[in-house]
Structure formats: structure tokens, C-alpha cells
Symmetry: C3
Subunit: 179 residues, 3 copies
């Protein structure tokens, strides 16, 4: 079903909403990121070796702020949106992620891709993410090659230092059955 012309500004707003999610995440802007979600947002990230489930944007921000810490070298790009309006103030979206993640503390180097399924709601005139789930398409893990030099990573400065991090292991389930 084609978009109506009247839907197009909303379509662009939803795209920008998700673009900001990725940008704020990789640059550790947690209060700006929180403002993109409904208070009760539901998250379910189903990776190849992990599953992260949580409810509420406060849990999401706590989870992300601990994962995207000062030892994290992170690139998360969301591509190729397929947005469907399900009402005047509700929509659903599919996005295709590419991610690179290097943990400098554990020397783990990951790259991969995943497909997001999101729900959006307009609340007080602003489009927000109400639900966000993804399923892995590929996940590749390796020890960080000693020849690799991370010459810059933004989170080094703004990410949580080891002593500032909290235990969020209750939000993560480690799995091995995906492989």
C-alpha cells in the first residue's frame, strides 16, 4: 500500500528518530537516547551468542551505558527502512543493521548484521520507539588481532570508566545454540 503524501513528513520523522538512536548510542549520549523511547519501551535483541531483553527505557539506558563503555569501539549503522503505518499515530518498521564492536578490555572483535522489527508511537506530537527487537543475520567473533591499532574511539572519553560500570548481567542471557 503506497504512502499518502500526508504520511511522508511522518515517515521522515520516523527515519530521523531511528538515525538518532544509532548516533546517540555510538557516541554515548544517554539522556538524548532515552528521550527517543516511550517510558515502557520493550527491547529484545536476539544475537548469535546473547539475548538482551528488558522493559522500560531506564533499563535500556543502563544496559547500553554499561555496554558502550570507555573500552568499547562501536559502529552501529541502521539501513534500508521499511516503514508501515498502522494508524494515525502508530507505525512499524524494519531496519537492517551493520555493526562492528571491539571490546578493548576483553580483546573481543565482533562484526555482523541483524534485522530490527520496531513499533513507533506518536506521543504528544513526537514519534517515539515503543518496541525494538532484532534477530541476527550474521555474527562473526574473533580475538582482536594484535596488529590492529584502535587509533581513535569516541567512547574512550565519554564512556563509563571501569569503576563507574554496574552489573547488568541480569538483562543478558548467553546462548550458544544459534551457531
Amino acid at each position: 500500500m503506497p504512502y499518502t503524501i500526508e504520511q511522508l513528513p511522518d515517515l521522515e520523522d520516523i527515519k530521523v528518530l531511528k538515525h538518532r538512536y544509532f548516533r546517540f548510542m555510538d557516541t554515548g549520549q544517554w539522556s538524548a537516547l532515552a528521550a527517543l523511547f516511550t517510558e515502557t519501551a520493550h527491547i529484545d535483541y536476539r544475537g548469535g551468542t546473547y539475548r538482551c531483553q528488558m522493559d522500560g527505557r531506564d533499563n535500556l539506558v543502563e544496559f547500553l551505558a554499561n555496554s558502550f563503555n570507555s573500552d568499547a569501539v562501536a559502529m552501529h549503522h541502521g539501513h534500508m527502512p521499511e516503514i508501515t503505518f498502522t494508524g494515525r499515530d502508530t507505525a512499524e518498521g524494519i531496519w537492517y543493521l551493520e555493526d562492528i564492536f571491539i571490546h578493548l578490555d576483553t580483546n573481543l572483535h565482533t562484526f555482523g548484521s541483524a534485522i530490527y522489527h520496531d513499533s513507533y508511537q506518536r506521543v504528544g506530537g513526537e514519534w517515539l520507539i515503543a518496541r525494538s527487537e532484532y534477530d541476527r543475520v550474521i555474527e562473526v567473533n574473533m580475538p582482536l588481532d594484535p596488529a590492529i591499532k584502535v587509533d581513535f574511539h569516541y567512547l574512550k572519553k565519554v564512556g563509563r570508566k571501569p569503576e563507574e560500570r554496574r552489573d547488568v548481567s541480569h538483562l543478558i542471557t548467553w546462548t550458544t545454540d544459534g551457531a
Copy 2:
């Protein structure tokens, strides 16, 4: 020449058409992918070490279903569309691909990029891909590093098992003059 407001819903439909092509390809959804092409679609993928030419969506699906098999770890992202309308029901498009492809059976690891030139036709109210060609920008090949662990790949489950694969070598020409 700027888009007219009336063209914008069609523009978004064409973007979503191509987005689905990439998503269906990497997740092995072959009948859904076939429905994105005209019956007589013309394909010409000019890689650095190969050229894949074929006519008809049936040949395309057979080619892809054999290539994106259960040993394939595949990421194909299409970026930065430049769409030009050439008529009420026809358009052309340029897209910039990033691809990662690991063949677990031959331990070949490829990454690269390419530029697509497409033609689109509206048939029975639906935009379809009538022609799709690409030329490599970069193609990098290497043996799969033994340190790399593919912990998840979607096609492992849904891709064709070795005994289900057919010979599509007549659709491929191997070249070495690109390098």
C-alpha cells in the same frame, strides 16, 4: 530536476522495493524475492573476479538460491539511492552496495562494494525491478582466518544443503582481468 510532490510516494515505494531485495536475499526468501522482479528481468553483476549474467527472474532465483546456500555467510546492504523518473511508470536508480560474503565450504572471505544501475517498471500498480546491473568499486578476497568464528548465520538453517544445490555455473563467467 527536482522531484514533484506527486512522485514522492513512488520514490519511497521504489526504495522499499530495493530494500526488500537485499533483505530477502540475505535471508533466503526466494519466492518473496522473485515477486520483486519482472518476469523477464535482465541481470548483469560484473564483479572483480566473476560476471553473472542472466535473463528472467526464474534464473535469478535459481542462481541466488544456489549461491546463498547453507554455507553462505552473507551481508548485502544497498545505500544512497539516486532515483530518476523516466516516465509515469518507469524509473532508473543508482545504489551503492557494501557486501561481506564468507563461503564456509571453500573458506573464502570476500568484502567489497559495487554500484548498481537499475531500471524499474510499475506493473499492475506495483513497482518491480526490470533490470539490475552492477560494477565493482572494490573487491577484496582472502582465505578465511582460522581465528574467525562464525557464531551465527541465518542461511545455515534456511539455505540449500549441499545435496539440494544445482549447477548454475552456466550463469557465471570467471574473470581475472579486473585486478
Copy 3:
């Protein structure tokens, strides 16, 4: 502030403008690339190990033509635009870059990401880039792995050969304080 329907064709034009910038850069189309910038365009690329500052599109083209030479294996993809109109003929944009760059002459292999902040102006009916700056998010450098075979790179044919290159070192500052 949501886009008005009347702004949407301009929004698409600005997206295509930036899409062409990346495509022309990676395929060495320098006069086509120059035509995307205002004559006095201001550039400031703040990398992890370098900073490239220049004024004027002629300096930009000279800088790029020397960097994207026949030994350069280059992929630059701009993602997730956040465009804001600041007037009838002016706009600002945020883009999130992914780049891969292999220098075959020095065997340096770089990948990373950066966030662009641009300004656009409509001049004589055409949207142009008037200012473009980026800051690194991640920058990863390594010697080129001898197992890697670059089987194709477009710039090999069209990029400047060693004897055609000029010294642009006055446009680059090398830094180490980012790491």
C-alpha cells in the same frame, strides 16, 4: 519540527547531493564532484590520526584527487541523514560515515566511522555543499594483511598515477592525541 510537504522535494535533493559526493569520490569523478560544492566551500575532516582543513572546492578536489589515487582502495558510505532546514535556501545535515581505505603503496589498511556536520545552500536553483566537517567515531589502522588480495579497485584505472600526484601535505595535519 516536522518537515512541511513542500520541503520534501528539497530534502530528497539534498540527500542525492550527498550520495553523489560519496559515489564521485570513490570513483574519481573530480569535475562532477567539484560541481557539488560552492566555490568557497569550507572543509574540516578531523580524523583519529589526521586533520584535513581547506577552503575552496579547488583545494578540496586537489586534495581528494591526490588521496584517492591509483593505489587507493576506497569505500565511503554516508548513512542516516538528519537534515534541518534553516531557511528557504539553506539547510544543515548530519550524516554517519563508514569508510574502508587501503593504501597499496604504503600497505596501510584503515576502517572506521565518522559523523559529518554539513551546511547546504541553494545557488541558482541547485543545492550545493557549502561546509562539510566530520569528527571520527572510530578509527582502526593496521598493516595490510599479506593474505588479503585486492582483486579489483576502480581507482586503479582512473586514479592519479605516482608521477601525476602533487604534494598536498600543507592541507593535512598529523595528530596523535586522539588515541
